[in-house]
Symmetry: C2
């Protein structure tokens, strides 16, 4: 019976003394004169299975020399070994070579630095760390979909190529089919974008929010989950030029509904992970970030705290702590401030709301004090901000004023403004950077190590 | 009790005579002197609910004049009406206006052309047709994830920005942060891409397949689901510059396994849709494409046929039918040929395999006849090709020869070639264009009408 290694771990008893067939790649091979052990991993499960072979097997001497990464098919008997370190093993009747592996294989059984592994991004998912990271990434993505679909949210594919700039400020990548060497120019000597593919200048999106708002005003509950881009020249462990973002948007909803949704989503996803990636999470907890499981369990079991920005400034001002960035009302909170509030004061996730309007985007709803907006950031211990959201400005005239105040051309946003004229009820949403969430849930500290093939300043390899 | 309209339809009996609260937007309002009827849609369900209000309600005269698209909250009693056209209605105690709608609202209750509705893409999801299309789109996306996740596939986010060209031929969009007006040039007068964001020339991806292969050789079963791009100057009903693609890749697998996976996936997704979008599918069947449900049921209940390309050419040669493109071995099949085979000969989906190597991509596995490759296309009645896939060339030397024959620089593909040296076992995969699948399953005939905000030649609005 052909089976996967995942099935062997999940239905161990059922396979006892059965003849089975597995496929996989050799992780280790310790051959001696009369017998040997191969650890096989087939990619379906974090752990592999031990295969025992003895000298009476066909091609014994060839098998005992098989190198790491060789692809094999194993036919043999599944045997429970309750007295051993591993719970079971396969006693091989036949080992067939499916594809050989050159001895130059760079992922030999020894510790490699994460930096080195980035240079072999096509092979690193075969290592323990990256096999865990990328399976968790897949499971978290699915948990996000499941969370929203169970609640009747409509998954909306907002455009990647766009002629607008949702944040009004992001540094963007140009998208063009013009001949870069000899672009067409108009009479004034400017690039003639009417000759470009879309008849105008276009960029890669920084957010699908504005389009998601249009859909939320039809479906009430929608979410996006797709790639977004920043052409920021930031060579840090937390910045990538290309990353995935989740942006739910809900109508007939205010900032409180928005925070409730964010809290529910975070807890749902972490729970899903703890149940469906137990092996991987134990690995991260043991080898990548000690205390990770305590941290995540704490999140699942906490009621998140709520404070206003003004209260946060008050707490920071009174703090017996020297900050690098001095604290005053009107400033943007820095990571050191965010972490102090979440880690040292509340020791759990904290929503900070009602930020000064001048440090937030034009589309956030102006509060009655006319100084602050209905924005929220979720701060978590160990990281700082992980989610940013807001109630949107649904009042046509105030939105128009805000756009003009920040220098946006309202004609470019005609359709966004029009949404406010036709049943543009109160609505709200937030953005969760998918990679930052994965970093948080795995303890991985560099965004390059949670993206399959990261794109950062100076790097678009593979 | 606050509820959604979806819940009213799904648990109708439970709400009988209960006091309920719903939110939604007015679709029609027929007020008379002493009473009126409002049809409310809240976006959670294809259908709306009828609200009856009488003259004793607060603000009766204002309510009877409420315009289409006004957002309201209705408090009232839920009443079963077994003798009426609709199974239930809400007898309103209170109707509260949440957001007004200007009378210029362009989606009045009359038929609009699909062409016109494209010009108001921010409002069209509020129409019956597009509410159905975009909910189906969301459900199909989720069904795809569910299909693969249930089978332990790892969802792999392959890069959008890339320095390579997976097909070796696609017309691609440049991605750059260079000043297009005054780009830096090198001594030879060429653009100096070492000054660009990624230190080299980059494009938008046409396929994640090559990177997916790397992950399949670690996880055995992976899939991608993300946006892909073609800068083709094709102004047809089937071409968009930006579309989503699903690309599974499986290791220890040959072309037969690949076809089995494709057939299972198509059937799974259609079944999911028939169960979870029954209202929408009935709408499409009645108003968009008569016979749609028969067509889809036929697919779910058929065993897909299998023929080789050579057999297909034979069938076409003997056909008592005049084709626009004459038939001969070595030619690429045109849509007219594909449809003849699927619609008239087999009357069900047909896999065509083993195409001439010269009309297929370099990475497809060379058959022993050295003339054909282990490729497959799935042809379906009414459309023609909907899936294209292949077993991949896993033999290092033959792959190298094929790359050189088509003029690719093997150094650019060093990592792809290296996969063949380290346990590069037989593997296969396919690509499904997500929008083409949605068109097929809804009967919509223009790709612009299944993309929320389509990007086509000359168009990047919204």
């Amino acid at each position: 019976m052909k089976t996967s290694i995942k099935q062997l771990y999940q239905n161990t008893e059922n396979f006892s003394d059965k003849d089975i067939i597995i496929n996989g790649w050799i992780r280790t091979n310790r051959g001696s004169k009369h017998f040997g052990f191969i650890e096989v991993n087939d990619g379906t499960y974090f752990k592999g299975v031990q295969v025992v072979y003895e000298e009476d097997i066909d091609n014994f001497s060839q098998i005992s020399k098989l190198t790491i990464a060789t692809a094999i098919t194993v036919r043999g008997k599944f045997i429970l070994t309750p007295d051993s370190k591993q719970a079971f093993e396969i006693k091989a009747d036949e080992i067939k070579i499916e594809a050989s592996a050159d001895s130059s294989y760079p992922l030999q059984k020894k510790r490699h630095t994460l930096e080195y592994l980035r240079t072999i991004a096509h092979l690193r998912p075969r290592s323990n760390t990256f096999s865990a990271v990328f399976r968790v990434r897949s499971l978290v993505a699915y948990a996000v979909h499941q969370f929203f679909q169970e609640r009747d949210f409509v998954y909306t594919h907002t455009p990647i190529i766009t002629a607008s700039d949702a944040e009004g400020a992001g540094e963007m990548f140009h998208v063009t089919t013009l001949d870069l060497k000899n672009p067409p120019k108009n009479e004034r000597g400017d690039i003639d974008f009417s000759k470009d593919f879309f008849d105008k200048a276009t960029n890669l999106t920084v957010s699908g929010q504005l389009e998601a708002e249009a859909f939320a005003l039809a479906f009430q509950k929608v979410y996006t989950f797709g790639p977004t881009f920043r052409a920021e020249n930031s060579n840090t462990a937390r910045h990538a030029a290309e990353f995935w973002m989740i942006e739910p948007e809900i109508a007939f909803a205010d900032l409180n509904d928005d925070m409730e949704l964010a809290e529910d989503m975070i807890k749902y996803v972490i729970n899903y992970l703890l149940v469906n990636a137990a092996e991987e999470m134990n690995f991260f907890n043991s080898f990548i970030n000690k205390g990770l499981l305590d941290k995540l369990n704490n999140i699942v079991n906490s009621d998140f705290a709520h404070i206003t920005y003004t209260e946060a400034i008050d707490i920071l001002t009174k703090a017996k702590k020297e900050f690098q960035y001095p604290v005053s009302w009107g400033m943007d909170l820095q990571t050191e401030h965010e972490r102090y509030i979440a880690e040292e004061v509340y020791k759990k996730p904290v929503f900070v709301t009602d930020y000064p309007k001048d440090i937030k985007a034009f589309y956030m709803r102006l509060n009655d004090d006319e100084k602050t907006v209905a924005a929220m950031d979720l701060l978590v211990p160990g990281v700082g901000e992980i989610i940013g959201g807001s109630q949107r400005e649904e009042r046509h005239d105030i939105l128009l004023e805000r756009m003009s105040a920040v220098g946006l051309n309202s004609e470019d946003y005609w359709w966004y403004l029009e949404l406010r004229k036709y049943g543009g009820v109160k609505h709200a949403g937030f953005g969760l950077g998918f990679e930052r969430a994965i970093m948080y849930m795995t303890g991985m500290e560099n965004i390059r190590d949670v993206l399959p093939f990261p794109r950062t300043v100076g790097n678009a390899e593979f």
